[in-house]
């Protein structure tokens, strides 16, 4: 062997010297890169460094509606809190357990990071006044939900991680103060819709570029803001509602709907948890079903699955208690459709707000009874109930505003609550604001309906000083939001 190799020696020495030379020539060529070349390696070729405001606006709209529609136990349990639905086996969320799954954390990060952050970024990229107004209205909508869920939240110092001087620990602002600013922002936005610009058109997934509808949405949002503070600051509420109701949503044709697609990934999130998951977690709750049965409400066949009658009637699951799926009635197949529309605001909601306003003596173009009937009718029509059934229903003693049991306030609350079925957050808020209808304590743990979300656990560790000072140091489920004064 050695002989063989030594014969090659001279030839190899030459080759190897060449090799060593080439290696280092190569190394030097590769290495003498300029700083610019080095920097170029640090720019991701698969992700854009710049996007337009339009794409951000689309993403934020989508994130907002996804949250509102979701019934994922990690994300949105408001259909449970309003006691429309309950859970079959695992009843933690129906029993208002928020912390084990860090549920408030989800809403907090989704709203700031994936809705408000993108909207804020979009706003900085655009000069079209109409687009800015559309962005602002969605921002106000999102902030209102945050305040309605948590109370004090970061506002003036929020969304500043990417600022010149990044603020990584934003302070929490007073909830009433935020509301006041939201009102003025929404007012400015409504004016802005009449300003110069085209607004979002095909990328507007709510009104497809109809600025007239955005104006109605804006005015309605002001009415809604006003309706929340009616117990806390009736004068402001009155003025807001009276000056905006007439230009607001006035029929189901004005509803702020969002059309989902029939196949993933842009399906209604409800479909993901009710159908795609293959699970049987949710059924209508007895609290709601009993009221519907009591009223022989024709919407029952739309809200629940008519093939799931138990002994000839709808039967809700005991709220907050484990129960077999098939021992109870089920949710309507309508809600199981992947492309079921999502709702941000609708005429029924507006009508009940106005009914309550009229009851308080505000001047809102009609009596409480008229708006009450408008609300029921809008809801019936929205869910596809025939006008004959609607008329008959309105004539029932236990429905007609004049004869239905309870105070006027309670009558409005009950029908408002029914109409907000599948809009869990609004249903829960009706309960908090009206203190009606009566929702019993959850079955297993005997706890009352929460008045708010507790703050995210992650805020305790990463923004502790600020979150501990928020809400006057009260961070319980039973701490009221500022407008929940009665």
């Amino acid at each position: 062997m050695s002989g063989l190799i030594s014969k090659m020696n001279s030839k190899y020495q030459l080759k190897m010297k060449k090799f060593i030379f080439l290696t280092f020539a190569l190394a030097l060529t590769v290495s003498c890169s300029s700083d610019e070349d080095y920097e170029g390696l640090n720019k991701n070729p698969n992700a854009p460094a710049e996007v337009s405001d339009t794409q951000l606006f689309v993403s934020a709209t989508n994130s907002l509606i996804d949250f509102v529609e979701s019934t994922n136990v990690n994300e949105n349990n408001f259909r449970l809190y309003a006691q429309y639905w309950t859970q079959t086996q695992y009843t933690d969320e129906a029993n208002y357990e928020m912390q084990n799954r860090a549920i408030p954390d989800y809403m907090f990060s989704e709203f700031y990071r994936d809705i408000l952050g993108d909207l804020d970024n979009a706003k900085n990229l655009v000069t079209d006044a109409v687009k800015i107004a559309q962005i602002e209205l969605l921002s106000v909508y999102a902030y209102q939900m945050l305040v309605d869920a948590f109370g004090d939240v970061p506002y003036t110092e929020a969304l500043k991680a990417g600022a010149e001087t990044p603020n990584l620990a934003p302070a929490y602002d007073d909830d009433a103060t935020i509301y006041a600013d939201l009102i003025s922002r929404a007012q400015a936005a409504v004016s802005g819709l009449s300003g110069s610009g085209t607004g979002y058109t095909s990328d507007d997934l709510i009104y497809s570029g109809s600025i007239a509808h955005w104006k109605k949405f804006g005015h309605s949002l002001l009415v809604k803001l006003g309706s929340r503070i009616v117990d806390q600051n009736e004068a402001t509420a009155k003025s807001l509602i009276e000056s905006n109701y007439a230009s607001g949503i006035s029929s189901n044709a004005d509803n702020a709907y969002f059309q989902f697609e029939s196949s993933p990934p842009n399906t209604n999130p409800l479909w993901e948890d009710l159908v795609q998951s293959g699970r049987q977690d949710f059924i209508p709750a007895d609290t709601f079903v009993n009221v519907m049965n009591d009223l022989t409400d024709p919407r029952s066949d739309k809200f629940f699955d008519p093939t799931s009658l138990i002994n000839g009637a709808y039967q809700g699951g005991p709220y907050g208690v484990s129960t077999p799926f098939n021992d109870n009635s089920h949710i309507s197949q309508t809600l199981y459709a992947a492309d079921f529309r999502g709702v941000l605001m609708d005429y029924a909601e507006m009508s009940f707000i106005l009914a309550e306003a009229a009851r308080r003596g505000f001047s809102v173009g009609g009596t409480a009874a008229q708006h009450y009937e408008n609300g029921i009718t809008a809801s019936m029509s929205e869910w596809g109930v025939s006008s004959d059934h609607t008329t008959a229903y309105l004539a029932q003693d236990n429905v007609a505003f004049a004869t239905a049991p309870g105070t006027d306030h309670e009558k409005i609350a009950k029908q408002f609550w029914i109409a907000m079925y599948n809009r869990g957050f609004e249903g829960w808020t009706v309960y908090r604001l009206f203190d009606s209808p009566t929702l019993p304590n959850a079955g297993t743990l005997d706890l009352p309906v929460p008045k708010r979300y507790t703050y995210p656990q992650s805020e305790q560790t990463i923004n502790g000083a600020n979150v501990k000072a928020a809400n006057g140091g009260n961070d319980t489920q039973q701490t009221s939001i500022f407008w929940d004064v009665k």
Binding site: V30, S31, T54, Q89, L168, E272, S322, P324, I462
Partner: protein, 1120 residues
């Protein structure tokens, strides 16, 4: 490439099977002529050897031209080449003149005595003898300060951390360098997998190294030792030297075969109760109909679904708070399988089956066969190794095959010398273990959600006979309708056998790494070395979830619970170009100088593509993207392409004075493409010194003593794409393009993080070399920590890449060797390692507006706990709900009143209480080696004291009632499963507070009174130990990770010369080997305290943990 093959060819052609043997004998004495017994005499390049007898005499049979190596603790090795005579008397020099040579950074060999830093070497035998598929696991317990954690999944990763966690940026993993080639050791595991949300562990790539090829492993622990490697070495370096051919006549052949079998360790699995079946508690029926249970009566009959005229288990319930199993007739899940006509629609007694989910595990069989050829002469050598390894994991349908070819050759051509090393590795794996909280992980069901009454072996039988996904957890009848037909769709859990054979992964990894180097002696003192190293990995991963024909199926989490298919192609490579100039000169008689100057360019490339089906599969068993139900969208594909370059220049100067004082200084400057241009260069340096104290002080007691000191500063950069903001592209919706901000904000002001380390060490060799110590104290501070800092989402981002704060690790390491007995026939050696460290976050800095950064988090896993740290805390404390305690520190019970009183532990309202620390107090190991004539016995005991983990397994599992602890009698002698009014429940240990007590930060201002009569409910799943609101504080599920394990055992026999004389073998040995045979002690129930999710920074959390596997087998080695 051609050149190497030529070497092989030449080697094979000159295969020379001549075995001329001769017997050599002689005596061994020390410098004073005193005979030395027990000196090891080994024939180089073989396992063959003997030891000198009590009078210092030896005798050994060898081939002509062999080299004999004489070694003895405390003495310098001596070697002789066997020539014409057959007698060689040896005088050994004590290590006052010791010149043990070790491999240090950049492959530079140095005399160990001259080093001013700690380096610990492990011989290849210790890795090869008791090996597993992952050679890295064989380092467990071998080195002080090296923590190797394995996770019990076939082919899964091993966590390799030296001197504790000190960086947050991504990796704390040690750098692996094989013969000068830095090799990729990333896991490529998904974030979901690493945080316990599901996925499989694809292993880290250092496991590709073939244990049979390892000559030795050097562990460079401190920054001073590794500074020359540049930024990646700030976590320490594991330097692997592979075997070289040795100079010999003809060709040596070594054959090594090992077969081991492994069985799960039942100590690390749940113990199931056998008296209560399917269900979540009495509520189920109690609500619907009036209870027929009278006071004191056992609940058996009424808590059922009904099917026909009989009761049926609620198979949809994946808990065990159902009826008492007393043999009553009931429909089981297997009575709902139409194919089983003899059982269908019939009933069977409700009893617990004789099997449990622990019977799901199979025996692991691992075979590793290797053969190597080697040879060499005065001018060079070669070694060619081939290893075939295969294993069947403990789960059904899991196999892994690995083929490795390694070639190492070197040759001198006068002043020019060449060295080349290349390894080809192909790994094929089927059925990696699903991990975490995911349906693909069978342990999730077994440990957390199990219904007693379901038979795992019947699950096996139904799958084998029907091939269908009939699950113990099928929706079933779940109805009172007597005519309802069973719904066979699994509710939460698939049949675990169906799942293993239908929802499985395959992956194939092809890798070649190695280097070519050329060295040229410019003069006697000056040497220049050029080297190119390469490491290329191509990996194809496939994950499947099949369509469950006829029954429906859950499939994998990966595809939103739909059937699906995902393919991933991952290509990554690294090239290093090195030029090293080496100058060595004796300046005077007393002063030696050596200096090196080097240049290194590293180029790393990543090219990953992932695509998966959308919305299910059209046809079963067709795993292809084209079989997707819906078209693929932006949500179904992802790509990662990146290149990173780091360029470094370095120099090192060392001086030796009178063979007593040594000093070394190094300096390196790097430029990284991953940092902003303004800050892309950074410097680091080290200075170290040592003094041979034993040269200065005469002592009979101490034969050798050395003091070392060093100080080093090492920089570290980051991964690509952490500087410039890039947006996330979302799937278009209704035709509208969508994009959003990234969730983590990059940072254009990043700079390198630096680690400063000071170390002092002492080596002592005493009592005639019967006792030796090596101590190190170190203090390591990392500043400007590069981290993806979790920030309040109210900032618009959930994370920000930044330089935040400092972490300090202080530690002490000890290595003790004792040689109590050493005679010709018998020797006993003890090696002990000890390591302890404390870590502390010194500061976290402020944001630009002056707000203090409060917290560094790295994990917010399911269950509501967080792992991270605040200033003043170790990195890695666990936060969650704690017990509320009274003024005396007793756990407080809250009494709830309804129709009767019941109690549960009161937990703190806030969840940011520190309830654990993942860092151990100390770790240690003891290896005992006994040699008696031709037998040798060694065993290694590995110990960890302290360290905590949170268990999601007990968090859920203690609530669902499957464990043995959930049944039994209470202090009244009643069944604890009875309702409290019926005498059931348990009396928990705790105190009840008076009404006026005020609780501040989880502590009451007054003492409570011991609970004497309030019981806690154990009749349904919301018991005080599980996850529910009236359940346990997180603190109750933080477990102590302490353990003592018999890690390794080897009993070997080397055949004597006399037996081999008539055979072609020059040496032969057999050994019984065992790993993880016995957990001597542990404090965590039902699990292996070492279990976890996989390699990486996210430790201290168990969910769906796999059991430990005891392996034992036989190892056979022959040399020709």
């Amino acid at each position: 490439m051609k050149n190497y093959f030529l070497f092989i060819l030449v080697g094979l052609l000159t295969l020379n099977l001549s075995f001329a043997q001769q017997v050599i004998s002689g005596s061994v004495v020390d410098a004073d002529g005193v005979p030395l017994p027990g000196v090891n005499v080994v024939v180089e390049g073989t396992g063959q050897g003997t030891a000198s007898d009590f009078d210092g005499n030896y005798e050994i049979s060898v081939e002509d031209g062999s080299t004999l190596i004489f070694s003895f603790v405390g003495f310098a090795d001596q070697s002789i080449t066997v020539g014409q005579t057959d007698s060689y008397d040896i005088q050994m020099s004590s290590n006052l003149e010791l010149s043990e040579v070790v491999v240090t950074s950049m492959g530079i060999t140095r005399e160990k005595r001259s080093l001013g830093y700690s380096i610990q070497t492990v011989g290849g035998d210790e890795i090869e003898d008791v090996r597993s598929m992952n050679p890295i696991e064989a380092l467990q317990g071998e080195v002080a300060g090296l923590d190797v954690q394995a996770f019990n999944t076939m082919g899964g990763s091993a966590n390799v951390v030296i001197r504790g966690y000190s960086s947050l940026s991504g990796s704390n993993q040690a750098l692996f360098v094989v013969d000068g080639t830095p090799i990729d050791n990333s896991t490529g595991n998904s974030t979901d997998m690493q945080t316990g949300r599901g996925g499989v562990d694809f292993g880290n790539a250092a496991m590709d190294i073939n244990p049979s090829d390892i000559e030795s492993v050097s562990v460079l622990k401190g920054a001073a030792a590794s500074a020359l490697y540049g930024s990646r070495a700030s976590n320490g370096v594991i330097l692997i030297t592979t075997k070289k051919g040795s100079k010999k006549k003809g060709m040596g052949i070594t054959v090594n075969s090992q077969i081991t079998v492994g069985n799960v360790d039942l100590e690390t699995l749940p113990v199931f109760q056998d008296s209560y079946g399917y269900g979540y508690g009495q509520y189920r029926r109690a609500y619907i109909g009036p209870s027929t249970v009278a006071a004191g009566e056992q609940w058996t009959g009424n808590y059922y679904g009904q099917w026909g005229n009989n009761s049926a288990f609620y198979t949809g319930d994946d808990g065990s708070y159902g009826p008492k199993l007393v043999g009553q007739e009931v429909h089981h899940w297997y009575n709902m399988v139409p194919e089983w006509t003899d059982l269908y629609q019939r009933t069977a007694p409700a009893v617990a089956p004789s099997d449990t989910p622990n019977d799901f595990f199979e025996t692991d069989v691992t075979q590793q066969n290797s053969i190597s050829f080697e040879g060499g002469d005065d001018n060079g050598s070669y070694r060619l190794g081939y290893t075939n390894a295969q294993t069947d994991g403990v789960l059904p349908n899991s196999q892994m095959y690995r083929n490795t070819v390694t070639l190492r050759a070197n040759r001198n051509f006068g002043k020019l010398s060449a060295d080349a090393s290349v390894s080809f590795i192909n790994t094929q794996t089927t059925g990696r273990f699903g991990t975490g909280y995911d349906g693909l992980n069978p342990m999730q069901g077994f440990r957390q959600w199990w219904a007693v009454g379901a038979s795992i072996l019947e699950q096996k039988r139904v799958f084998e006979e029907t091939g269908k996904n009939y699950s113990w957890n099928m929706i079933g009848t779940n109805t009172d309708d007597p005519n309802g037909s069973p719904n066979h769709q699994p509710l939460y859990f698939d049949n675990p056998y169906w799942s293993r054979y239908n929802n499985y992964t395959t992956d194939s990894r092809n890798r070649h790494f190695g280097n070519v180097s050329l060295a040229y002696d410019l003069s006697e003192n000056l040497n220049i070395l050029g080297r190119v190293t390469f490491d290329n990995v191509t990996e194809a991963r496939e994950q499947r979830a099949n369509v469950a024909v006829g029954t429906g199926g859950k499939g994998a989490n990966l595809f939103d619970d739909q059937p699906g298919y995902q393919t991933q192609n991952r290509i990554r490579s690294e090239y290093n170009y090195d030029l090293i100039v080496d100058y060595t000169r004796d300046l005077t008689d007393n002063i030696d100088l050596s200096a090196i100057f080097g240049y290194n360019l590293r180029v790393q490339n990543w090219d990953h593509t992932t695509a998966q089906t959308n919305g299910g599969l059209n046809f079963p068993n067709i795993f292809a993207l084209t079989n997707s139900v819906n078209p693929l969208t932006a949500a179904d594909v992802s790509q990662y392409d990146a290149q990173k370059k780091v360029e470094g220049m370095y120099t090192s100067v060392s001086l030796g004075l009178s063979d007593t004082y040594y000093a070394e200084g190094t300096y390196r400057r790097d430029r990284s493409s991953a940092l902003p241009v303004d800050n892309n260069s950074y410097n680091y340096y080290s200075i170290s010194g040592s003094a041979i104290l034993s040269n200065l002080i005469e002592s009979d007691l101490i034969s050798f003593a050395k003091l070392r000191l060093n100080h080093a500063v090492v920089g570290n950069d980051t991964a690509p794409y952490n500087v410039f903001r890039a947006y996330t592209i979302n799937p278009a919706i209704n035709g509208a393009a969508s994009a959003s901000n990234p969730s983590t904000l990059p940072n254009s002001n990043l700079k390198a993080e630096t680690t400063t380390e000071n170390e002092i060490g002492l080596e002592i060799n005493m009592l005639d070399r019967k006792l030796s110590f090596d101590f190190s104290f170190y203090n390591k501070t990392t500043d400007d920590l590069l981290t993806s800092l979790g920030v309040s989402p109210a900032t618009g981002f959930s994370g920000l890449v930044t330089n935040a704060g400092s972490i300090e690790n202080k530690g002490f390491e000890a290595l003790v060797r004792i040689n109590p007995i050493s005679t010709a026939d018998f020797s006993w050696n003890v090696t002990m390692n000890y390591n302890t460290y404390t870590s502390e976050i010194l500061s976290l800095g402020n944001d630009a507006t002056g707000n203090a950064i409060q917290y560094l988090g790295y994990m917010s896993p399911q269950g509501g706990i967080e792992i991270g740290g605040q200033v003043g805390e170790p990195y890695g404390v666990i936060r969650g709900h704690a017990h509320v305690r009274d003024a005396n520190g007793n756990k407080v019970l809250r009494v709830r009143s309804g129709s009767y009183d019941y109690a549960h532990y009161l937990r703190t309202s806030n969840s940011d209480n520190v309830i654990g620390d993942i860092n151990p107090d100390w770790t240690g190991s003891v290896r005992n080696t006994f040699t008696y004539k031709n037998f040798d016995l060694s065993f290694l005991i590995d110990i960890q004291q302290g360290g905590d983990f949170f268990s999601l397994d007990t968090w859920y599992g203690f609530g669902t009632g499957a464990y043995d602890r959930s049944v039994g009698l209470n202090h009244k002698g009643n069944d604890m499963r009875l309702t409290i009014p019926n005498g059931g429940g348990l009396r928990l240990d705790g105190v009840i507070l008076p009404d006026n007590a005020v609780i501040t930060d989880g502590v009451a201002n007054v003492a409570g009174t011991q609970n004497t009569d309030v019981m806690s409910r154990y009749d349904f799943y919301a018991n005080p130990e599980g996850w529910t609101s009236i359940g346990a504080p997180h603190e109750m599920h933080v477990h102590d990770a302490s353990f003592a394990k018999l890690r390794e055992l080897k009993l070997g026999y080397t055949f004597p010369e006399s037996v081999l004389a008539e055979t072609p073998f020059t040496s032969a040995s057999v050994a019984f080997v065992g790993r993880n045979l016995w957990i001597i002690a542990k404090n965590s129930p039902y699990t292996d305290p070492e279990a976890g999710l996989g390699a990486g920074n996210r430790q201290g959390y168990q969910t769906g943990a796999f059991p430990a596997v005891k392996t034992y087998g036989l190892n056979v080695r022959f040399n020709f």
